[in-house]
């Protein structure tokens, strides 16, 4: 098991398979929230389902809509399990707080380069400091 410590997190302790890309995240810009897939053609995860996955991405992008959309996605059950980002913006934090969504950010390495795509990972927002653990590689 490898553990990566982070600066900040909210939510709980969540396990799932990682979906990893060196790209950004915005619920409005990047997702088809009806079908649960990345829909922006230029996104590195275009066409892939995010439902139930732990998204490991670079930075929060886009506008303010994600602050509502995480709650709306949660209510319909078409949502990722958690989000791990190198860098957040306030919108992502506000959205996670409203939706009771698990999110972690601010690693001392580029998290998108050290977590293998598809690996079983655990985001532990309750740990001090919060961390992301790689439990098993693909």
């Amino acid at each position: 098991m490898i553990e990566f410590r982070a600066v900040a997190a909210m939510g709980g302790r969540v396990r799932g398979h990682a979906l990893v890309a060196k790209d950004g995240f915005s619920a409005r810009y990047d997702l088809n929230r009806v079908n649960g897939v990345f829909s922006r053609p230029e996104h590195k995860l275009a066409g892939q389902s995010y439902v139930g996955r732990i998204l490991v991405l670079d930075a929060a992008k886009g506008g303010v809509a994600t602050a509502w959309m995480l709650k709306e996605m949660t209510a319909r059950g078409v949502m990722p399990a958690a989000l791990a980002l190198n860098r957040v913006n306030p919108i992502m934090v506000q959205g996670a707080a409203l939706a009771e969504f698990t999110m972690i950010s601010g690693f001392d390495v580029d998290i998108t380069t050290v977590v293998p795509n598809g690996a079983l990972v655990e985001v532990d927002a309750e740990a001090t400091p919060p961390c992301l653990r790689v439990l098993a590689e693909v």
Binding site: Y29, A59, K61, G63, W68, E72, P90, A97
Partner: protein, 400 residues
């Protein structure tokens, strides 16, 4: 408030703000004098609407906002909903949100250009603004202090009258982190948008503050509007400085910063050409994002005189500008040429995916760089053109 003595709405609000503030390192709160809420129903969904309605059902003294609070564009223009093929369930959700916000004491301004029309921020004034275009313009051009406040957080600030003091409320966060040399000052609005998009891609995240040197004239409010909206959209950037132009640039740009990149006219043309490549036929032309000013409407009306659109051409403005456009005959001239002038909505906040499916729209031409950045994810093939090229596309149905 946290103990619930001011009621559950303010209890939720202060708890939400504490959680957000802790995550982002806020030491305390700062009073804010206005809030601006983005809350279109595509973003809210049914669950978000029901959540707002629960707040709206509280006793009046528990639910009313404490500071002037206004709204971003709504998800439809009720007067034109049938022509847009918005469905009844969308309109019903919109009506429910409006009723809820009015019960909370929110002014339904429905605009993303409040800095041009309602009450612009004063230098140094702390705000809780939603809509990234509003934040970046107010921070950079007017010297206001605001972070991106999504709908829930803007509402929380409206209920408590304060916001966590982090990010761009702090003087030290407002210093330039990235210096760029601009070798070509844009001429047209879509060029300013392209420049914003290029710099947004370079900046890459919310915590970068780009500073520009080389802009050789004072841009207009509309030019800075398109530049800022695109920079915020592509880069999630909330503050920029233009040396010699914006009010904080003189003191916010350290001499030790070195130029990271020079941006030329060729870069702007390459950025625009990438969206245009391989596109011939256009299904719809949209002027929106941000809502058009009176000056943009005047320019568009002049370009359309004596011409006739052969495909749908949507022209979106604010409820504050629309009456003047009507009064000055601009609406009539645009609609005589086949356009549809819409008020109080914004294209991408108005069920863009459902409009595409219902109307058979795929290729969309616009002068808004922000709009082309957003709409790819909604299934459109967006093309960035000048206002005049958009008019030509609307009249011929083709590009070039």
């Amino acid at each position: 408030m946290l103990a619930g003595k001011a009621g559950p709405a303010r209890q939720w609000a202060i708890d939400h703000q504490i959680r957000v503030g802790r995550y982002l390192g806020a030491a305390d709160f700062v009073p804010v004098s206005q809030a601006h809420i983005m809350a279109d129903t595509e973003s809210l969904g049914v669950s978000g609407v029901e959540w707002l309605e629960r707040l709206a059902a509280l006793p009046e003294h528990e639910r009313r906002v404490r500071i002037p609070t206004i709204t971003d564009p709504r998800g439809t223009d009720f007067a034109a909903a049938a022509r847009l093929k918005h469905q009844e369930w969308m309109l019903a959700l919109e009506r429910r949100v409006i009723t809820a916000f009015e019960a909370l004491g929110v002014l339904m301004t429905d605009t993303c250009i409040n800095y041009q029309t309602i009450m612009p921020a004063v230098f140094g004034e702390h705000m809780a603004y939603g809509d990234t275009g509003v934040v970046i313009y107010s921070n950079s051009v007017l010297g206001a202090r605001s972070n991106f406040e999504g709908g829930p957080s803007a509402l929380a600030a409206a209920l408590t009258g304060r916001t966590p003091r982090y990010g761009y409320h702090l003087p030290e966060r407002r210093r330039a982190s990235l210096l760029l040399r601009i070798d070509h000052t844009p001429h047209e609005l879509h060029d300013w948008g392209a420049l914003g998009g290029i710099i947004g891609r370079i900046a890459g995240d919310y915590w970068q503050v780009p500073a520009l040197v080389g802009i050789d004239r004072v841009p207009t409010s509309d030019e800075l509007k398109h530049f800022g909206a695109a920079l915020a959209s592509y880069g999630s950037v909330a503050l920029f400085h233009m040396v010699g132009i914006t009010p904080e640039a003189e003191h916010a740009v350290d001499r030790s910063l070195t130029v990271k990149a020079a941006i030329t006219e060729a870069d702007v043309r390459t950025f625009q050409a990438a969206y245009r490549a391989g596109v011939d036929k256009v299904d719809v032309v949209v002027f929106s994002a941000p809502q058009l000013s009176l000056m943009e409407l005047r320019e568009l009306a002049a370009m359309l005189d004596g011409r006739r659109a052969t495909i749908p051409m949507l022209v979106v403005t604010s409820p504050q500008v629309k009456p003047d456009a009507d009064r000055f005959g601009l609406t009539a001239r645009i609609e005589a040429a086949g356009g549809l002038v819409l008020s109080g909505m914004c294209f991408y906040q108005s069920y863009a995916r459902e409009m595409a499916e219902a109307n058979g729209w795929q290729t969309l031409a616009t002068s808004s760089a922000k709009l082309v950045n957003i709409l790819g994810g909604y299934g459109y093939r967006p093309v960035l053109l000048s206002m005049r090229e958009c008019v030509d596309a609307a009249c011929s149905g083709r590009i070039g």
